[in-house]
Subunit: 236 residues, 6 copies
Amino acid sequence: MRLLVVNPNTTASMTALIGGAAGAVAGPDVTIEAVNPASGPVSIESHYDEALAVPGVLELVARGGYDGYVVACFGDPGVLAARELTGAPVVGIAEAAMRTAAYLGRTYSVVTTLGRTIGHSWDVARAGGLADHCAGMHACEVPVVELETDPRARARILAEAEHALATDRSDVIVLGCAGMADLADWLSVELGVPVVEGVGAATLEVEKLVRLGLRTSKRGEFAPPPAKERGPSLLV
Amino acid sequence: MRLLVVNPNTTASMTALIGGAAGAVAGPDVTIEAVNPASGPVSIESHYDEALAVPGVLELVARGGYDGYVVACFGDPGVLAARELTGAPVVGIAEAAMRTAAYLGRTYSVVTTLGRTIGHSWDVARAGGLADHCAGMHACEVPVVELETDPRARARILAEAEHALATDRSDVIVLGCAGMADLADWLSVELGVPVVEGVGAATLEVEKLVRLGLRTSKRGEFAPPPAKERGPSLLV
Amino acid sequence: MRLLVVNPNTTASMTALIGGAAGAVAGPDVTIEAVNPASGPVSIESHYDEALAVPGVLELVARGGYDGYVVACFGDPGVLAARELTGAPVVGIAEAAMRTAAYLGRTYSVVTTLGRTIGHSWDVARAGGLADHCAGMHACEVPVVELETDPRARARILAEAEHALATDRSDVIVLGCAGMADLADWLSVELGVPVVEGVGAATLEVEKLVRLGLRTSKRGEFAPPPAKERGPSLLV
Amino acid sequence: MRLLVVNPNTTASMTALIGGAAGAVAGPDVTIEAVNPASGPVSIESHYDEALAVPGVLELVARGGYDGYVVACFGDPGVLAARELTGAPVVGIAEAAMRTAAYLGRTYSVVTTLGRTIGHSWDVARAGGLADHCAGMHACEVPVVELETDPRARARILAEAEHALATDRSDVIVLGCAGMADLADWLSVELGVPVVEGVGAATLEVEKLVRLGLRTSKRGEFAPPPAKERGPSLLV
Amino acid sequence: MRLLVVNPNTTASMTALIGGAAGAVAGPDVTIEAVNPASGPVSIESHYDEALAVPGVLELVARGGYDGYVVACFGDPGVLAARELTGAPVVGIAEAAMRTAAYLGRTYSVVTTLGRTIGHSWDVARAGGLADHCAGMHACEVPVVELETDPRARARILAEAEHALATDRSDVIVLGCAGMADLADWLSVELGVPVVEGVGAATLEVEKLVRLGLRTSKRGEFAPPPAKERGPSLLV
Amino acid sequence: MRLLVVNPNTTASMTALIGGAAGAVAGPDVTIEAVNPASGPVSIESHYDEALAVPGVLELVARGGYDGYVVACFGDPGVLAARELTGAPVVGIAEAAMRTAAYLGRTYSVVTTLGRTIGHSWDVARAGGLADHCAGMHACEVPVVELETDPRARARILAEAEHALATDRSDVIVLGCAGMADLADWLSVELGVPVVEGVGAATLEVEKLVRLGLRTSKRGEFAPPPAKERGPSLLV
């Protein structure tokens, strides 16, 4: 089984981190390839970033050749469109992380990077029927690209998670950024509760769907897009 | 007051129709300019079309120079991102049409082009708190570009609207495509109920906001996007 | 275009203030008349006040002769009944203010007079599908008639609005009383966020509907009431 | 225990019918008095009727002297305001009937008089958290005052109830008009399911609250209305 | 009329307290019998406790011989299954208490024993459409069996109720455990708001249903369970 | 990894079928054991059946010794209680099937055995935030134990699924009974849409959670039940 993990931003070090997180949990017969678009925002922290990143994500998915796809940004950019472009399962890390958390406790809290992205994360939660399980969304206000470079980032994330558990009286922490994928185990030990990061959760969700022989329904909304002129700049 | 009406697809005849519909209702001191992106899909009938159309919409809004913006496609593509790029009001025609309908009766029915877009329209309705007012969404299955060319299009839309009123027991019809902007008056006479088309509704909504001196809040989610590298292909 | 702005209470100075707020935003071809019932409560701060004010509102609307009607009390008293009595658009200031706020940010906070009215305001928000956008309702506990006379009223409203923004993490303030119509511009400057007051919003909403040629649907719930004996004390 | 059952319309024969239905179920130590306002609509079939009926209802409640009050019209007109005027329990028949039905099956269907009232009945159901239990609302299109006089009324109501059970797959019928209070037993035998009429349900609900020593909370929204000038035409 | 009040746990002193609370409010022609299963948990403070208590509850209900049944544990364990076993009304104290509170104010707060049960109580509230009325659930962290023995229990419950009213801005307190049935009157005096305890509320609710001649609908979900082998350990 | 798949009913042939379905999808390093309680109902088709089956399920889970647990009945009986008894993940097939379906299309339809169980299935869907995705639940009215023996069962299920897709306009079919686990592939070919059966979905969900190192949160609701006397008849 070959899975493509798409990092929607163009920061190669983050793509490597994401690929590592996916590979660490994938089954023995699963090949993980992690890629990012050639051009686009270096991180996704606004609706504008997301809008500019999506065409690159879709170009990568449209090439085909994989048994399933992970979109590794917590806003799940382009997932619905990607499901039109392939019958292979496409899973975003926000949806996967929040659905996974629902098995582990009554409620979860999200800890994310910038507060300005929380509105969109609630939209993703609501669209997936996951808002009732979400007791709160909290920002550590560390920009995405500083997760790797700011020496205080870990401490801030831990503090925000502790605050979230106390304030929300929740059972589970969900990490709200693919760039936090390497922090889950450490945080879980520190906090004493399950910590779900979406890259691993989405990778195993796609693997699960492939092993079940399940593909995106092509009956209505996710049928291939009608053929038409769409301009010169993209491959499909 | 200068308003920019953006047709997110690249079909110039539709841009002209949309500009005409906006100009027909705009106040005497309002200048309407209707534009479309230089490149992108000729019509928007899938998540994929929408994803490819959004960067062009944002490029047009980012140029600035207007007192307000209308996004003239029933899926409201790019509206949230556009609100980050300018303090001037940005209104999508789906939100405007459905909010307007809420003043005219208890429930409304949407009549749109292709059934595959209905899921997304429900998402827009839910995000705006307008789903409780929506008694049903119905497709005439006429593709967007054939609205102007298919001689049976009008009859099909009328039949679908009659079916919607009978099935949904609703009070108002909302037209689910900017390309239907010229049909509202005729349909209203035929049906005996108010028919709301979004181009006019959104144009007057922006005009209303401008006259009230109201601009998008820059306090949180819609603050200007953080400065960063975003790739070579767009102006901002 | 002639619009009637109905102040449901009998305080003439408030009627003048409301009429001024409507006139300040109305278009050049729009004539605003502001009236209040001859008899009824001097202010509306309870379900009981509202119940006693409504017949007077309806008597004024039933006289006809206008192209549209604004009901200028934040509980929107009598709006549904008024829609039965005329085909001309009828808009309440609570619905108009909250719908307007939805275009300006993800969430809004209401700042109103007495806390005892907040339950009813939530009912209006829920009925209009606007509760998801409302991050909180807050009372300054200044009675309606003291808004004009209490020298501390402005400071209290400002303090409550600042508290609301901090607590609710909202983007927009909605003023929850027609008697606050003259405070919006000042508050917006003080707070640095959009402040919506309903009198102006509702006036331009009615103007918008009239210019779009849209009238209340007479198909079902808002058809004229059946003819019957209704007692001696009202005109219709 | 003395309970006042208020028929909000001015049709004396319906007041008698309602009083009889209440008396038939009241406990041995309960005195029922049934009254109607001296002036107002002869039946309530529109928002306008309801608005004109409410002041009369409140005038009767404000007189005091009873241990509890039933408002015997399916729209529960004036109930919230009445709760401000007295600490004695006030129960509307729509709320009581729908809450009662929730104990008897998963879902119920409402059968009412005119279709134009269904929107308001949904509002009452939603406000009370009872909409999830309601599988449908159905109109027999017999006007209220013809329930007693139209020889076909019973057959139409039975047919509509049978249709409701088949369409909605519901467990229970709720009668949507006080004027149907005498039909519940007959319909239940005909249909083979529980049929709830609100007059009896509300009467025993008030009796229950009185026996439990429970009165309306005066802590916030339902505290006595502030003293003020309210005009000459009502007693309080 | 003979009613059976079932205490689902096996603590006889609590059964006596519950029987006393029911008898104190029951009508003069009503015979109350209070029982508990012969075997099972001594208190119900977890999903596990509830699961083990339910078969005993059902065995008692299946014996028949009563006009109605009360299940006297705030999680309403076994109520849906019990409704399959008899046509006589079956009412749980959580549903009855929360529905009763809805007549007395806009919102209520629950004060219960252990925080770990609050998730389940929210499930009961949501299933009954009562979550919108519930402003908060609060635990005093006194285990059920210590309600009678811990001398500080009353003070803790009072403190938690005061905290709930202040935090939730609610109108009514609902007691979240049958073992608190004797505290309602005292608490109501201390707090100055209505306090609803479910044993009395459920007893009079069943009495109400019986007097109205209403029985559980046998049309669908609550028809008698199909005959089949179910193992040796239970009577039915 | 050792997983225990618990069939809550006592029909051994169904346990074998369920074990086969789990084994067919489990990873190479996963050992599946399928068991059923020694005593209890032969099938679960009512709330009563479910109540009697749960203690046996919990007894099997409480024995421990496995890395994760599947509860293989579409009502997910005992899952919440089982999560208290072990830190190893516990997944019910209804929750797993419906969450899985959410990745494959906008909406799904459930096809189940008896119509009387549909109310409970909606409760499970609502509790999991999956009701918005569910376009309808449909019964083929074949009792559980006749799924294997009735030669017409397959045809009826296929017909009901076709009817569901046409009526609900849904994208995916979810099979509403563990006894249908062997029909998914055949049905998917017949229908041309994804068909999700819960046994495989839940097995791979547990496997996923184990591989991610995620266990049930023990912070609140799902902490081990307090020690207490719980009667003689169960092991824990």
